[in-house]
Amino acid sequence: MADVDDYRKDMEAFFKMAKYPLVRQTDMSAEMREEAVDVCVTAVEKHQTDMEKCTQAIKEALDRKFGPRWHVIAGNYFSFEITHECKNLLYLSSEGLQACLSGKCEQ
């Protein structure tokens, strides 16, 4: 039981700490990254539970800002292998739970 409690305490501390978005991988330019991170964070905050709406929101915002054909994955567990246009990839973790991956690619 103590272990579980410790784990829970640990996780609570972790969630408290991990309030900020963490960019794990990107090849965007600085301004573009800032904007994209902003978009992702707002969308994740807005749609905490509904991942589908979250991805929809991110995609629409990014399409509006940087031109069409963005592909967005958001969720807690996923893996991916994607081909994307250079300078157009952002992979970030937000609020310690969700991870968003957005890439622009040619269909």
Partner: protein
């Protein structure tokens, strides 16, 4: 013939009858000769003869006289006998006593009416009389045919007209056929416009493929614990960064993948930082320089050999002619698009020279460059320094070979110490410290050190001839002379024109040179083409004025051995040799192009070189040829030559061009003949005597001519 229809008969050829002359009367009447025709040819009867000849002409009758065997042979007398023939209307062969039995009278009665017609020849004609039946029928037929043709024609015209009005006939096929009245048009609405029948251009596809935007592939997976790990890692990194608070944090939080190369870059930097020490040390620099020179000497081994040992073997054979051998070419990276404007050999180090880069163009001014090259390292300058304004002139001090005086286009003068690299300049004259207001065209160190320190002179087109003294911290200027445009001379030159310049206006100085013998004496060449001899001892005016050049003087040079003679060159294509005691030039050489610079040889008193804007170097030895150059050689294929300088010792010549390139050329033996001194006279004395001899001859020639 109207009314007569020609029948399609072949015309009958006239029949030629040999034995009997057939007479065909034109009027159709029958003519019967009273005498048998066979006798006629030999008959002397003129009438019969005339009749025969009349027939002969149109009918081409035979000429041969055929005598039938049965012909009666006649004697001459009988032939000559005249026989009278009468033409009668009676037929001789017609019976005269034809009788008929008269039944009423029961008696034979003489018929008085006997047919007298005799037919000798008859033929069917093809002419019809227009009143005859046959003719009438034929006429009717012709008329019917004509009417048919006319109908056809009108129909044709009608159809054509209709087609022109845009209501053409049904099909294209009928165009070539005659219109048919009998057939009605099958579809009178199905007419097609000719313009619609043009060829249809086949459609073509053309495409261009653009480069696809660069893509990259990324793989990864995301799960709760990976996110946790990433945050923990980030936290640790932040903590580490905070610990080293002295170092500013690298902007942005990088993921694990990005962290790798980042760390190595920092490592690289630190490693490099640690390694700069020994690499940039003075000892390393010296070693590197030695290595560079060795590499260059290996690269240019053949050029170095030529420099030391090459002599043009042809010079032993030919007289008064020489050649130049190009050796090295010096270019500075920073001076690539600038013109070479100044050259000066170091007097102490015989392999070292300074080159100034700038621009002569008023509209194309650029920053300047001072570079010092060594012959031992032609590929890279030993010293280089960029100046704000284009360099126009420079001079290395004779006693202090590290000091370099530089004059710039903006009127400033600078002093560099070429030992110190990277230092901009030791001294600079600015607007506050009395810099020139026009380009400085020449600077020259004073030969003797002044009481206050090192001094140099400069001349500029603002008319000032200035002495600069190197004080402890600054340059002190002193105007030695103001070059006044002399009103009287100006008026003479202008020939009656009002001298627009005020009496106090200044003449622009372009160049000057100090006399080798007397330190205070110097000549100044001006933009107007006048050359003034002046002295630093008096600043009131000119000692002499030499008139000769029509355009600005680019260079004046005193002879290196003889104190009386000097050379000048200018934009008027001429090089002039002057005796300082004569107002007129002793010798004038026209080189066919503006002469950028002229330089005396340091050893031979009669040898000098001139560089022209054509790209040619002319080397003269007036003791060998006082009219033409011994050598006239193109040194650069493109560009104009600006400066020329003799090495103080070696027989080499530096030539600069407006492309920023310095070419080193070697003089062939004929171009560097120097008198050899002996016990009685030194080489210098011999040289002076040689020059004087040449001048004497030239003056004699002038006086004879004049």
């Amino acid at each position: 013939m109207p009314g007569i229809v020609q029948k399609a008969f072949a015309r009958k050829k006239p029949q030629i009858v040999k034995e009997t002359a057939v007479l065909k009367p034109a009027n159709g009447a029958t003519y019967t000769p009273t005498v048998p025709a066979a006798t006629l040819p030999s008959s002397p009867n003129p009438r019969a003869k005339a009749a025969v000849s009349a027939e002969e002409v149109p009918q081409q009758v035979f000429k041969e006289v055929v005598r039938p065997e049965t012909q009666l042979p006649l004697s001459e007398r009988e032939l000559g006998e005249e026989i009278v023939k009468t033409l009668t209307a009676t037929n001789p062969s017609a019976p005269k006593n034809v009788v008929h039995f008269n039944m009423r009278d029961r008696v034979f009665k003489l018929d008085p009416m006997v047919d007298q017609l005799a037919q000798h020849y008859s033929t069917d004609g093809y002419l019809l009389h227009n009143t005859s039946e046959e003719a009438k029928r034929q006429l009717e037929q012709a008329k019917a045919a004509e009417e048919a043709a006319a109908r056809y024609q009108t129909e044709l015209e009608r159809v054509q007209q209709r087609r022109e009005e845009g209501v053409g006939t049904a099909s294209v096929g009928t165009d070539s056929e005659p219109p048919d009245d009998s057939r009605t048009l099958r579809n009178q609405f199905n007419f097609s416009d000719r313009a619609a029948q043009t060829a249809v251009q086949p459609p073509r596809d053309r495409g261009t493929a653009t480069e696809p935007p660069p893509t990259a592939s990324t793989t990864g997976s995301c799960s709760m614990w990976q996110i946790y790990d990433a945050y923990i890692e980030d936290q640790e990194r932040q903590a580490a960064a905070e610990e080293q608070s002295s170092r500013p944090r690298v902007g942005g939080r990088k993921g694990g993948a990005a962290g790798g190369p980042n760390a190595t870059a920092v490592d690289d930097a630190t490693r490099r930082g640690g390694g700069t020490g020994p690499m940039s040390s003075a000892a390393m620099g010296r070693v590197a320089r030695v290595l560079e020179r060795m590499a260059n000497q290996n690269t240019f081994a053949d050029v170095s050999m030529d420099f030391r040992y090459w002599d043009d073997a042809a010079d032993g054979v030919r007289e008064a002619e020489g050649t130049l051998l190009p050796l090295w070419r010096f270019t500075a990276e920073k001076g690539r698009h600038k013109a070479l404007t100044a050259l000066c050999w170091s007097s102490d180090y015989l392999d070292l020279f300074a080159a100034g880069y700038g621009s002569y163009g008023f509209l194309k001014q650029c920053s300047g460059l001072v570079a010092c090259f060594s012959l031992k390292n032609p590929s890279y300058p030993e010293f280089s320094c960029v100046t704000d304004s284009g360099v126009l002139c420079l001079d290395l001090h004779a006693q202090h070979p590290n000091l370099l005086a530089v004059g710039c286009y903006d009127g400033s003068v600078h002093v560099f110490d070429i030992r110190q690299k990277g230092v901009r300049s030791l001294y600079s004259a600015t607007a506050q410290t009395g810099k020139h207001t026009d380009p400085v065209w020449q600077v020259r160190w004073a030969a003797a050190e002044g009481q206050r320190g090192l001094q140099f002179f400069s001349v500029s087109t603002d008319g000032r001839f200035t002495l600069w003294t190197l004080a402890k911290n600054e340059l002190i200027h002193q105007n030695i002379l103001e070059l006044h445009a002399e009103p009287s001379l100006a008026a003479d030159a202008a020939d009656g024109w009002e001298d627009t310049s005020s009496p106090g206006s200044l003449a622009g100085g372009c160049c000057f040179d100090f006399n080798q013998g007397q330190d205070h004496l110097f000549v100044v060449g001006t933009e107007e083409g006048r050359i003034h001899e002046c002295s630093t001892a008096h600043n009131s005016g000119y000692l002499h004025t030499y008139l000769g050049h029509h355009m600005s003087v680019y260079s004046v040079r005193w002879n290196r051995l003889h104190p009386r003679f000097f050379l000048s060159c200018g934009a008027d294509w001429t090089v002039r040799l002057w005796d300082s005691r004569r107002a007129q030039p002793v010798l004038v050489f026209d080189l066919g192009s503006p002469v950028g610079d002229v330089a005396w040889s340091p050893h031979a008193a009669t040898t000098f070189a001139a560089a022209t804007e054509e790209g040619k170097v002319h080397v003269f030895d007036i003791s060998q040829n006082s009219i033409e150059a011994l050598c006239e050689q193109r040194v650069v294929t493109q560009g104009r030559l600006t400066k020329v300088a003799f090495n103080p010792q070696h027989p080499i010549l530096l030539v600069g061009d407006d492309r920023g390139c310095v070419t080193c050329v070697k003089l062939s033996p004929n171009l560097r003949r120097v008198s050899q001194g002996d016990a009685k006279q030194t080489a210098k004395e011999l040289e002076v005597a040689k020059l004087e001899k040449v001048i004497e001859v030239a003056l004699k020639g002038m006086s004879e001519a004049g």
